[in-house]
Protein backbone atom coordinates (compact mmCIF):
# COMPACT_ATOMS: atom_id res chain seq x y z
CA UNK A 1 0.00 0.00 0.00
CA UNK A 2 2.64 2.44 1.11
CA UNK A 3 4.76 1.73 -1.94
CA UNK A 4 1.88 2.31 -4.32
CA UNK A 5 1.17 5.61 -2.61
CA UNK A 6 4.72 6.74 -3.26
CA UNK A 7 4.56 6.27 -7.04
CA UNK A 8 3.04 9.70 -7.86
CA UNK A 9 5.54 11.35 -5.54
CA UNK A 10 8.53 9.79 -7.32
CA UNK A 11 6.99 10.55 -10.69
CA UNK A 12 6.86 14.25 -9.81
CA UNK A 13 10.39 14.22 -8.39
CA UNK A 14 11.74 12.39 -11.44
CA UNK A 15 9.97 14.66 -13.90
CA UNK A 16 11.72 17.71 -12.44
CA UNK A 17 14.96 15.78 -12.15
CA UNK A 18 14.77 15.05 -15.88
CA UNK A 19 14.11 18.73 -16.60
CA UNK A 20 17.34 19.58 -14.76
CA UNK A 21 19.42 16.71 -16.12
CA UNK A 22 18.32 16.75 -19.72
CA UNK A 23 19.95 20.03 -20.84
CA UNK A 24 23.13 19.02 -19.05
CA UNK A 25 23.09 15.57 -20.64
CA UNK A 26 22.54 17.12 -24.05
CA UNK A 27 25.55 19.40 -23.63
CA UNK A 28 27.82 16.60 -22.41
CA UNK A 29 27.03 14.23 -25.26
CA UNK A 30 26.89 17.11 -27.76
CA UNK A 31 30.41 18.18 -26.88
CA UNK A 32 31.73 14.91 -28.36
CA UNK A 33 29.69 15.07 -31.56
CA UNK A 34 30.43 16.61 -34.91
CA UNK A 35 28.19 19.49 -35.91
CA UNK A 36 26.43 17.30 -38.48
CA UNK A 37 25.84 14.55 -35.95
CA UNK A 38 24.33 17.07 -33.56
CA UNK A 39 21.97 18.34 -36.21
CA UNK A 40 20.77 14.88 -37.16
CA UNK A 41 20.57 13.48 -33.69
CA UNK A 42 20.32 15.86 -30.72
CA UNK A 43 19.32 13.27 -28.16
CA UNK A 44 21.36 10.19 -29.07
CA UNK A 45 24.83 9.18 -27.99
CA UNK A 46 27.78 10.27 -30.15
CA UNK A 47 29.17 7.67 -32.56
CA UNK A 48 32.61 8.05 -30.99
CA UNK A 49 34.34 10.04 -28.29
CA UNK A 50 36.17 12.63 -30.31
CA UNK A 51 37.94 15.36 -28.38
CA UNK A 52 38.28 17.77 -31.31
CA UNK A 53 35.72 20.18 -29.90
CA UNK A 54 37.62 20.42 -26.63
CA UNK A 55 40.88 21.02 -28.44
CA UNK A 56 39.23 23.67 -30.61
CA UNK A 57 37.57 25.41 -27.63
CA UNK A 58 40.63 25.32 -25.44
CA UNK A 59 43.29 26.39 -27.93
CA UNK A 60 41.45 27.82 -30.95
CA UNK A 61 38.80 29.56 -28.84
CA UNK A 62 41.36 30.89 -26.37
CA UNK A 63 39.86 29.30 -23.28
CA UNK A 64 43.38 28.44 -22.13
CA UNK A 65 44.14 32.15 -21.68
CA UNK A 66 40.75 32.92 -20.13
CA UNK A 67 41.17 30.04 -17.72
CA UNK A 68 44.38 31.52 -16.33
CA UNK A 69 42.77 34.97 -16.02
CA UNK A 70 39.77 33.52 -14.21
CA UNK A 71 41.97 31.64 -11.74
CA UNK A 72 44.08 34.73 -11.02
CA UNK A 73 41.10 37.07 -10.60
CA UNK A 74 39.02 34.64 -8.52
CA UNK A 75 41.95 33.55 -6.36
CA UNK A 76 43.36 36.98 -5.58
CA UNK A 77 39.90 38.47 -5.01
CA UNK A 78 38.91 35.75 -2.56
CA UNK A 79 42.11 36.09 -0.53
CA UNK A 80 41.66 39.86 -0.34
CA UNK A 81 37.97 39.58 0.53
CA UNK A 82 38.62 37.07 3.32
CA UNK A 83 41.36 39.24 4.77
CA UNK A 84 39.62 42.61 4.52
CA UNK A 85 36.12 41.45 5.46
CA UNK A 86 37.33 39.59 8.55
CA UNK A 87 39.49 42.54 9.59
CA UNK A 88 36.63 44.97 9.21
CA UNK A 89 34.21 42.71 11.08
CA UNK A 90 36.83 42.23 13.81
CA UNK A 91 37.25 45.98 14.23
CA UNK A 92 33.51 46.55 14.21
CA UNK A 93 32.56 43.82 16.67
CA UNK A 94 35.48 43.34 19.01
CA UNK A 95 36.13 46.88 20.18
CA UNK A 96 33.94 49.81 20.97
CA UNK A 97 35.12 52.40 18.51
CA UNK A 98 33.13 55.50 17.75
CA UNK A 99 30.81 55.28 14.77
CA UNK A 100 31.13 51.51 14.38
CA UNK A 101 27.35 51.14 13.98
CA UNK A 102 27.36 53.75 11.21
CA UNK A 103 30.28 52.14 9.41
CA UNK A 104 28.62 48.73 9.61
CA UNK A 105 25.42 50.19 8.20
CA UNK A 106 27.35 51.83 5.35
CA UNK A 107 28.83 48.45 4.47
CA UNK A 108 25.66 46.38 4.62
CA UNK A 109 23.58 48.83 2.60
CA UNK A 110 25.73 47.53 -0.24
CA UNK A 111 24.11 44.11 0.07
CA UNK A 112 20.84 45.43 -1.31
CA UNK A 113 22.21 47.45 -4.24
CA UNK A 114 22.33 45.56 -7.54
CA UNK A 115 25.55 45.95 -9.57
CA UNK A 116 23.65 47.21 -12.63
CA UNK A 117 22.94 50.50 -10.86
CA UNK A 118 26.54 51.67 -11.13
CA UNK A 119 28.25 49.57 -13.80
CA UNK A 120 28.33 52.36 -16.35
CA UNK A 121 29.72 54.86 -13.86
CA UNK A 122 32.18 52.26 -12.61
CA UNK A 123 33.43 51.72 -16.15
CA UNK A 124 33.83 55.47 -16.72
CA UNK A 125 35.64 55.89 -13.42
CA UNK A 126 37.96 52.96 -14.15
CA UNK A 127 38.91 54.52 -17.47
CA UNK A 128 39.78 57.76 -15.68
CA UNK A 129 41.87 55.84 -13.16
CA UNK A 130 43.57 53.82 -15.93
CA UNK A 131 42.24 50.65 -14.34
CA UNK A 132 40.04 49.60 -17.23
CA UNK A 133 41.31 46.62 -19.17
CA UNK A 134 43.24 45.44 -16.18
CA UNK A 135 42.84 42.39 -13.98
CA UNK A 136 43.77 44.55 -11.00
CA UNK A 137 40.82 46.85 -11.68
CA UNK A 138 38.54 43.83 -11.90
CA UNK A 139 39.91 42.47 -8.61
CA UNK A 140 39.34 45.77 -6.79
CA UNK A 141 35.80 45.81 -8.14
CA UNK A 142 35.05 42.32 -6.86
CA UNK A 143 36.56 43.11 -3.48
CA UNK A 144 34.46 46.27 -3.16
CA UNK A 145 31.25 44.60 -4.31
CA UNK A 146 31.62 41.43 -2.27
CA UNK A 147 32.75 43.10 0.96
CA UNK A 148 29.22 43.95 2.20
CA UNK A 149 27.91 40.39 2.22
CA UNK A 150 31.21 38.97 3.47
CA UNK A 151 31.40 41.48 6.33
CA UNK A 152 27.78 40.67 7.18
CA UNK A 153 28.65 36.97 7.56
CA UNK A 154 31.80 37.61 9.63
CA UNK A 155 30.05 40.25 11.75
CA UNK A 156 27.18 37.93 12.63
CA UNK A 157 29.58 35.24 13.71
CA UNK A 158 32.13 37.35 15.59
CA UNK A 159 29.40 39.12 17.54
CA UNK A 160 28.59 35.81 19.20
CA UNK A 161 32.14 35.08 20.39
CA UNK A 162 32.08 35.68 24.18
CA UNK A 163 33.90 38.80 25.34
CA UNK A 164 35.56 36.88 28.17
CA UNK A 165 37.89 35.20 25.67
CA UNK A 166 39.05 38.56 24.47
CA UNK A 167 39.45 40.00 27.94
CA UNK A 168 41.53 37.07 29.10
CA UNK A 169 43.82 37.44 26.11
CA UNK A 170 44.07 41.20 26.67
CA UNK A 171 45.20 40.73 30.24
CA UNK A 172 47.83 38.28 28.99
CA UNK A 173 49.18 41.18 26.96
CA UNK A 174 47.80 40.20 23.58
CA UNK A 175 47.89 43.01 21.02
CA UNK A 176 44.98 43.77 18.73
CA UNK A 177 46.66 42.14 15.79
CA UNK A 178 47.57 39.04 17.79
CA UNK A 179 43.99 38.91 19.02
CA UNK A 180 42.75 38.87 15.44
CA UNK A 181 45.24 36.29 14.24
CA UNK A 182 45.62 34.01 17.22
CA UNK A 183 42.25 34.19 18.94
CA UNK A 184 39.39 35.29 16.70
CA UNK A 185 40.35 33.93 13.27
CA UNK A 186 41.05 30.36 14.43
CA UNK A 187 37.50 30.33 15.81
CA UNK A 188 36.00 31.65 12.57
CA UNK A 189 36.44 28.66 10.26
CA UNK A 190 32.70 28.44 9.58
CA UNK A 191 32.26 31.96 8.19
CA UNK A 192 35.56 31.65 6.30
CA UNK A 193 34.16 28.62 4.46
CA UNK A 194 30.84 30.33 3.73
CA UNK A 195 32.48 33.52 2.43
CA UNK A 196 34.99 31.56 0.38
CA UNK A 197 32.44 29.33 -1.34
CA UNK A 198 29.92 32.08 -1.95
CA UNK A 199 32.55 34.30 -3.56
CA UNK A 200 34.11 31.46 -5.51
CA UNK A 201 30.80 30.79 -7.26
CA UNK A 202 29.92 34.47 -7.65
CA UNK A 203 33.27 35.61 -9.07
CA UNK A 204 34.12 32.57 -11.19
CA UNK A 205 30.74 32.82 -12.90
CA UNK A 206 30.37 36.59 -13.07
CA UNK A 207 29.76 38.14 -16.45
CA UNK A 208 28.65 41.70 -15.77
CA UNK A 209 31.87 43.31 -14.50
CA UNK A 210 34.30 41.95 -17.10
CA UNK A 211 31.68 42.84 -19.71
CA UNK A 212 32.04 46.55 -18.94
CA UNK A 213 35.63 46.64 -17.66
CA UNK A 214 37.58 44.35 -20.00
CA UNK A 215 37.74 44.70 -23.77
CA UNK A 216 41.25 43.39 -24.41
CA UNK A 217 40.87 39.80 -25.53
CA UNK A 218 43.98 38.62 -23.69
CA UNK A 219 42.51 39.79 -20.37
CA UNK A 220 39.06 38.24 -20.59
CA UNK A 221 37.78 35.85 -17.96
CA UNK A 222 36.00 32.58 -18.82
CA UNK A 223 32.36 33.75 -18.87
CA UNK A 224 32.89 36.62 -21.30
CA UNK A 225 35.47 34.62 -23.19
CA UNK A 226 32.81 32.00 -23.71
CA UNK A 227 30.31 34.66 -24.71
CA UNK A 228 32.59 35.35 -27.64
CA UNK A 229 31.90 31.82 -28.89
CA UNK A 230 28.36 32.82 -29.64
CA UNK A 231 29.41 35.03 -32.51
CA UNK A 232 32.61 33.28 -33.47
CA UNK A 233 31.25 29.76 -33.77
CA UNK A 234 27.86 30.70 -35.03
CA UNK A 235 27.28 27.29 -36.53
CA UNK A 236 29.53 25.39 -34.17
CA UNK A 237 27.39 24.53 -31.22
CA UNK A 238 29.50 21.50 -30.44
CA UNK A 239 32.58 23.65 -29.77
CA UNK A 240 30.44 25.92 -27.62
CA UNK A 241 29.26 22.87 -25.67
CA UNK A 242 32.85 21.84 -25.03
CA UNK A 243 33.52 25.39 -23.78
CA UNK A 244 30.49 25.17 -21.49
CA UNK A 245 31.85 21.94 -19.99
CA UNK A 246 35.35 23.34 -19.52
CA UNK A 247 34.14 26.41 -17.63
CA UNK A 248 31.61 24.47 -15.50
CA UNK A 249 33.61 21.42 -14.49
CA UNK A 250 35.70 22.93 -11.65
CA UNK A 251 32.69 24.21 -9.70
CA UNK A 252 30.44 21.23 -10.43
CA UNK A 253 33.11 18.82 -9.15
CA UNK A 254 33.67 20.93 -6.03
CA UNK A 255 29.91 21.18 -5.52
CA UNK A 256 29.45 17.43 -5.67
CA UNK A 257 32.26 16.98 -3.12
CA UNK A 258 31.14 19.72 -0.73
CA UNK A 259 27.37 19.83 -1.25
CA UNK A 260 26.42 20.97 2.24
CA UNK A 261 28.89 23.84 2.33
CA UNK A 262 27.94 24.94 -1.19
CA UNK A 263 24.23 24.89 -0.51
CA UNK A 264 24.72 26.82 2.73
CA UNK A 265 27.05 29.37 1.12
CA UNK A 266 24.93 30.01 -1.96
CA UNK A 267 21.54 30.10 -0.27
CA UNK A 268 22.81 32.49 2.39
CA UNK A 269 24.13 34.60 -0.43
CA UNK A 270 20.77 34.55 -2.16
CA UNK A 271 19.59 37.02 0.46
CA UNK A 272 22.06 39.39 -1.15
CA UNK A 273 20.45 42.03 -3.39
Amino acid sequence: MNKVKKIPKYMVLSLFAILIIFPIYMVIIGSFKTEKELYNNVFGLPSMLNMDNYREAFFGGGLNKYFVNSIVVTGVSIVMILLLASMAAFALTRSRIKGSKMIYLLFIIGIAIPPQVAIIQLALQMTNMHLNNSLLGLIFTYVAYELPFSIFIFYGFMQEIPHEIQEAAMIDGCSNFQMYRRVIMPLSKGPVATVMIFNLVAIWNDMIFPLVLISDDALKTLPIGLLRFKGMYISKNTVMFAGVIIISIPLVVLYLCLQKQFIRGISQGAVKG
Binding site: K9, L13, F16, A17, I20, F22, P23, I24, M26, V27, V42, A85, M87, A88, A91, L92, S95, I97, I103, F107, G110, I113, Q116, V117, A118, I119, I120, Q121, Q125, F140, T141, V143, A144, L147, P148, I171, S175, N176, F177, V201, W204, N205, D206, M207, I208, P223, L226, L227, K230, M240, V244, I247, S248, Q259, I263, I266, S267, A270, V271, G273
Partner: protein, 296 residues
Protein backbone atom coordinates in the same frame (compact mmCIF):
# COMPACT_ATOMS: atom_id res chain seq x y z
CA UNK B 1 40.33 47.47 37.41
CA UNK B 2 38.91 50.61 35.85
CA UNK B 3 42.45 51.82 35.20
CA UNK B 4 43.14 48.57 33.41
CA UNK B 5 39.99 48.86 31.31
CA UNK B 6 40.90 52.34 30.26
CA UNK B 7 44.41 51.31 29.31
CA UNK B 8 43.11 48.42 27.26
CA UNK B 9 40.52 50.60 25.59
CA UNK B 10 43.07 53.20 24.70
CA UNK B 11 45.41 50.72 23.11
CA UNK B 12 42.55 49.07 21.25
CA UNK B 13 41.40 52.43 20.07
CA UNK B 14 44.71 53.20 18.40
CA UNK B 15 45.11 50.09 16.31
CA UNK B 16 41.49 49.22 15.58
CA UNK B 17 41.18 51.95 13.00
CA UNK B 18 44.05 50.41 11.07
CA UNK B 19 41.88 47.35 10.49
CA UNK B 20 39.26 49.49 8.81
CA UNK B 21 41.41 51.64 6.54
CA UNK B 22 41.85 49.22 3.63
CA UNK B 23 38.28 47.83 3.54
CA UNK B 24 36.74 51.29 3.81
CA UNK B 25 39.06 52.77 1.18
CA UNK B 26 38.38 50.07 -1.43
CA UNK B 27 34.65 50.04 -0.68
CA UNK B 28 34.40 53.83 -0.95
CA UNK B 29 36.36 54.18 -4.17
CA UNK B 30 34.99 51.20 -6.11
CA UNK B 31 31.49 50.87 -4.71
CA UNK B 32 30.19 54.03 -3.04
CA UNK B 33 31.61 56.48 -5.58
CA UNK B 34 30.19 54.85 -8.73
CA UNK B 35 26.77 54.54 -7.08
CA UNK B 36 26.76 58.17 -5.95
CA UNK B 37 27.97 59.24 -9.39
CA UNK B 38 25.12 57.35 -10.96
CA UNK B 39 22.68 59.38 -8.90
CA UNK B 40 24.41 62.66 -9.79
CA UNK B 41 24.76 61.75 -13.45
CA UNK B 42 21.03 61.18 -13.77
CA UNK B 43 20.61 64.97 -13.64
CA UNK B 44 23.10 65.58 -16.44
CA UNK B 45 23.31 65.06 -20.15
CA UNK B 46 26.50 63.61 -21.57
CA UNK B 47 27.32 61.75 -24.78
CA UNK B 48 30.58 60.23 -23.61
CA UNK B 49 32.68 62.43 -25.90
CA UNK B 50 31.94 66.09 -25.08
CA UNK B 51 34.44 67.54 -22.60
CA UNK B 52 31.76 68.71 -20.16
CA UNK B 53 28.46 67.29 -19.01
CA UNK B 54 25.46 69.61 -18.97
CA UNK B 55 23.11 69.95 -16.01
CA UNK B 56 19.55 69.32 -17.17
CA UNK B 57 17.61 68.92 -13.92
CA UNK B 58 14.87 66.32 -14.14
CA UNK B 59 14.94 66.18 -17.96
CA UNK B 60 16.20 62.59 -18.06
CA UNK B 61 13.38 61.47 -15.80
CA UNK B 62 10.79 63.35 -17.85
CA UNK B 63 12.20 61.81 -21.02
CA UNK B 64 11.94 58.42 -19.36
CA UNK B 65 8.29 58.90 -18.42
CA UNK B 66 7.53 59.72 -22.08
CA UNK B 67 9.65 56.98 -23.60
CA UNK B 68 7.56 54.03 -24.87
CA UNK B 69 10.66 51.80 -24.75
CA UNK B 70 11.01 52.50 -21.03
CA UNK B 71 7.41 51.41 -20.43
CA UNK B 72 7.95 48.38 -22.63
CA UNK B 73 10.99 47.50 -20.50
CA UNK B 74 9.00 47.97 -17.30
CA UNK B 75 6.18 45.79 -18.61
CA UNK B 76 8.63 43.07 -19.69
CA UNK B 77 10.42 43.23 -16.36
CA UNK B 78 7.10 42.82 -14.55
CA UNK B 79 6.06 39.89 -16.77
CA UNK B 80 9.43 38.25 -16.20
CA UNK B 81 9.23 38.84 -12.45
CA UNK B 82 5.68 37.52 -12.07
CA UNK B 83 6.54 34.36 -14.05
CA UNK B 84 9.65 33.85 -11.97
CA UNK B 85 7.95 34.45 -8.63
CA UNK B 86 4.93 32.24 -9.32
CA UNK B 87 6.78 29.24 -10.73
CA UNK B 88 9.87 29.35 -8.57
CA UNK B 89 7.75 29.57 -5.41
CA UNK B 90 5.13 26.98 -6.33
CA UNK B 91 7.49 24.40 -7.80
CA UNK B 92 9.97 25.01 -4.98
CA UNK B 93 7.26 24.45 -2.37
CA UNK B 94 5.91 21.33 -4.09
CA UNK B 95 9.33 19.70 -4.35
CA UNK B 96 10.31 20.72 -0.81
CA UNK B 97 7.16 19.16 0.66
CA UNK B 98 8.06 15.92 -1.11
CA UNK B 99 11.71 15.76 -0.01
CA UNK B 100 12.08 17.64 3.26
CA UNK B 101 12.49 14.52 5.40
CA UNK B 102 16.14 13.53 5.49
CA UNK B 103 16.94 10.42 3.50
CA UNK B 104 19.55 9.43 0.96
CA UNK B 105 17.21 9.53 -2.02
CA UNK B 106 15.79 12.91 -0.93
CA UNK B 107 19.29 14.33 -0.59
CA UNK B 108 20.06 13.07 -4.07
CA UNK B 109 17.10 15.00 -5.52
CA UNK B 110 17.96 18.12 -3.54
CA UNK B 111 21.57 18.03 -4.76
CA UNK B 112 20.33 17.67 -8.31
CA UNK B 113 17.75 20.48 -8.15
CA UNK B 114 20.36 22.81 -6.74
CA UNK B 115 22.99 21.97 -9.36
CA UNK B 116 22.15 24.79 -11.84
CA UNK B 117 22.97 27.32 -9.11
CA UNK B 118 26.69 26.63 -9.52
CA UNK B 119 26.63 27.18 -13.29
CA UNK B 120 27.55 30.52 -14.81
CA UNK B 121 24.70 32.56 -16.25
CA UNK B 122 26.63 32.64 -19.52
CA UNK B 123 26.73 28.86 -19.80
CA UNK B 124 23.06 28.60 -18.83
CA UNK B 125 22.17 31.24 -21.41
CA UNK B 126 24.16 29.49 -24.15
CA UNK B 127 22.65 26.07 -23.34
CA UNK B 128 19.09 27.37 -23.35
CA UNK B 129 19.74 29.56 -26.35
CA UNK B 130 20.49 26.32 -28.18
CA UNK B 131 17.49 24.48 -26.72
CA UNK B 132 15.20 27.28 -27.91
CA UNK B 133 16.77 27.45 -31.38
CA UNK B 134 13.90 27.06 -33.88
CA UNK B 135 15.72 24.77 -36.32
CA UNK B 136 18.35 22.89 -34.41
CA UNK B 137 17.06 23.30 -30.89
CA UNK B 138 16.13 20.43 -28.65
CA UNK B 139 12.76 21.83 -27.61
CA UNK B 140 11.24 21.93 -31.09
CA UNK B 141 12.83 18.58 -31.98
CA UNK B 142 11.35 17.09 -28.86
CA UNK B 143 7.90 18.48 -29.62
CA UNK B 144 8.12 17.07 -33.16
CA UNK B 145 9.25 13.71 -31.82
CA UNK B 146 6.20 13.38 -29.57
CA UNK B 147 3.86 14.55 -32.31
CA UNK B 148 3.16 18.09 -31.07
CA UNK B 149 4.49 19.90 -34.17
CA UNK B 150 1.85 22.58 -33.83
CA UNK B 151 3.38 23.68 -30.51
CA UNK B 152 6.79 24.44 -32.01
CA UNK B 153 7.85 28.08 -31.94
CA UNK B 154 10.69 30.42 -32.62
CA UNK B 155 10.87 30.74 -28.88
CA UNK B 156 13.26 33.67 -28.73
CA UNK B 157 11.98 35.69 -31.66
CA UNK B 158 8.26 35.39 -31.10
CA UNK B 159 7.38 38.70 -29.47
CA UNK B 160 4.54 37.26 -27.46
CA UNK B 161 6.43 34.49 -25.70
CA UNK B 162 10.08 35.47 -25.62
CA UNK B 163 9.96 37.11 -22.19
CA UNK B 164 8.30 34.04 -20.65
CA UNK B 165 10.80 31.75 -22.34
CA UNK B 166 13.60 33.80 -20.74
CA UNK B 167 11.94 33.84 -17.32
CA UNK B 168 11.58 30.07 -17.49
CA UNK B 169 15.35 29.71 -17.78
CA UNK B 170 15.66 31.73 -14.58
CA UNK B 171 13.13 29.40 -12.93
CA UNK B 172 15.21 26.43 -14.09
CA UNK B 173 18.24 27.85 -12.28
CA UNK B 174 16.48 29.21 -9.22
CA UNK B 175 14.08 26.46 -8.26
CA UNK B 176 16.75 24.60 -6.27
CA UNK B 177 17.30 27.64 -4.07
CA UNK B 178 13.59 27.82 -3.23
CA UNK B 179 13.62 24.10 -2.47
CA UNK B 180 16.50 24.57 -0.02
CA UNK B 181 14.79 27.49 1.73
CA UNK B 182 11.45 25.67 1.98
CA UNK B 183 13.11 22.47 3.18
CA UNK B 184 14.75 24.43 6.00
CA UNK B 185 11.39 25.98 6.86
CA UNK B 186 9.57 22.64 6.81
CA UNK B 187 12.17 20.99 9.01
CA UNK B 188 11.55 23.64 11.65
CA UNK B 189 7.87 22.78 12.04
CA UNK B 190 7.43 20.73 15.25
CA UNK B 191 6.17 17.23 14.54
CA UNK B 192 3.69 17.45 17.43
CA UNK B 193 1.62 19.97 15.49
CA UNK B 194 0.90 17.39 12.81
CA UNK B 195 0.17 14.77 15.41
CA UNK B 196 -2.42 16.84 17.20
CA UNK B 197 -3.95 17.85 13.86
CA UNK B 198 -4.23 14.17 12.97
CA UNK B 199 -5.88 13.42 16.31
CA UNK B 200 -8.35 16.18 15.54
CA UNK B 201 -9.14 14.30 12.34
CA UNK B 202 -7.34 16.50 9.79
CA UNK B 203 -6.47 14.78 6.50
CA UNK B 204 -3.26 15.47 4.54
CA UNK B 205 -4.73 18.48 2.71
CA UNK B 206 -6.14 20.02 5.89
CA UNK B 207 -2.79 19.43 7.60
CA UNK B 208 -1.10 21.24 4.76
CA UNK B 209 -3.42 24.27 4.77
CA UNK B 210 -3.88 24.49 8.56
CA UNK B 211 -0.42 23.54 9.83
CA UNK B 212 2.21 23.68 7.10
CA UNK B 213 1.21 26.90 5.35
CA UNK B 214 0.80 29.08 8.44
CA UNK B 215 4.07 27.78 9.87
CA UNK B 216 5.84 28.48 6.58
CA UNK B 217 4.69 32.09 6.42
CA UNK B 218 8.05 33.75 6.97
CA UNK B 219 9.90 31.30 4.68
CA UNK B 220 7.35 31.92 1.94
CA UNK B 221 7.75 35.64 2.41
CA UNK B 222 11.52 35.38 2.08
CA UNK B 223 11.21 33.30 -1.11
CA UNK B 224 8.70 35.75 -2.56
CA UNK B 225 10.89 38.74 -1.85
CA UNK B 226 14.10 37.11 -3.09
CA UNK B 227 12.51 36.05 -6.35
CA UNK B 228 10.86 39.44 -6.81
CA UNK B 229 14.17 41.24 -6.40
CA UNK B 230 15.86 38.64 -8.61
CA UNK B 231 13.27 39.28 -11.29
CA UNK B 232 13.61 43.05 -11.27
CA UNK B 233 17.40 42.74 -11.43
CA UNK B 234 17.37 40.28 -14.31
CA UNK B 235 20.12 40.94 -16.80
CA UNK B 236 22.39 37.98 -17.50
CA UNK B 237 20.03 35.49 -19.16
CA UNK B 238 18.30 38.18 -21.20
CA UNK B 239 21.62 39.68 -22.27
CA UNK B 240 23.11 36.35 -23.34
CA UNK B 241 20.06 34.95 -25.14
CA UNK B 242 18.42 37.92 -26.85
CA UNK B 243 20.17 41.10 -25.71
CA UNK B 244 16.71 42.60 -25.33
CA UNK B 245 15.64 41.80 -28.84
CA UNK B 246 15.78 43.81 -32.03
CA UNK B 247 12.44 45.52 -31.47
CA UNK B 248 12.79 45.64 -27.68
CA UNK B 249 10.55 42.60 -27.53
CA UNK B 250 12.43 41.28 -24.51
CA UNK B 251 13.94 44.54 -23.27
CA UNK B 252 14.14 44.68 -19.48
CA UNK B 253 15.31 47.58 -17.29
CA UNK B 254 18.90 46.37 -17.02
CA UNK B 255 19.44 45.66 -20.71
CA UNK B 256 17.79 48.99 -21.50
CA UNK B 257 20.13 51.01 -19.29
CA UNK B 258 23.11 49.10 -20.68
CA UNK B 259 22.09 49.87 -24.27
CA UNK B 260 21.37 53.53 -23.61
CA UNK B 261 24.95 53.92 -22.40
CA UNK B 262 26.89 51.67 -24.76
CA UNK B 263 24.82 51.69 -27.93
CA UNK B 264 23.35 55.20 -27.85
CA UNK B 265 25.90 57.03 -25.64
CA UNK B 266 23.11 58.53 -23.52
CA UNK B 267 25.00 58.36 -20.25
CA UNK B 268 22.75 60.68 -18.26
CA UNK B 269 19.61 58.93 -19.42
CA UNK B 270 21.12 55.55 -18.63
CA UNK B 271 21.91 56.78 -15.11
CA UNK B 272 18.30 57.89 -14.63
CA UNK B 273 17.13 54.37 -15.54
CA UNK B 274 19.69 52.93 -13.07
CA UNK B 275 18.35 55.14 -10.31
CA UNK B 276 14.79 54.04 -11.11
CA UNK B 277 15.86 50.40 -10.87
CA UNK B 278 17.51 51.13 -7.54
CA UNK B 279 14.37 52.82 -6.21
CA UNK B 280 12.20 49.84 -7.19
CA UNK B 281 14.56 47.33 -5.58
CA UNK B 282 14.86 49.51 -2.46
CA UNK B 283 11.09 49.71 -2.05
CA UNK B 284 10.82 45.91 -2.26
CA UNK B 285 13.64 45.54 0.28
CA UNK B 286 12.05 47.97 2.74
CA UNK B 287 8.64 46.31 2.41
CA UNK B 288 10.33 42.96 3.01
CA UNK B 289 12.02 44.17 6.19
CA UNK B 290 8.75 45.65 7.48
CA UNK B 291 6.82 42.46 6.83
CA UNK B 292 9.47 40.26 8.41
CA UNK B 293 9.65 42.43 11.49
CA UNK B 294 5.90 42.36 11.91
CA UNK B 295 6.05 38.59 11.80
CA UNK B 296 8.56 38.15 14.61
Amino acid sequence: MEEMDKRINKRRFNTTYLFLIAPLAIYTVFFVMPNVNSLIFSFYKWDGIAPAKVFVGFDNYIKMANDPVFWKAILNTVKYTVTLVVFQTLIGLLLAVLIFKTSKIHNFFRTLYFLPSVLSAVTVGLIWGFIYDPNMGALNKFLEAIGLENLTHSWLSDEKIVIYALAFVHVWVGVGQSVVLFVAGLQNIPYELYESARIDGAGPWKQFTRVTMPMLRSTTLIVLVLTTIGGFKCFDYVFVMTGGGATHSSEVLSTFLYKEAYAYSEFGYSAAISVTLLIIVSIITVVQMRLLRKKT
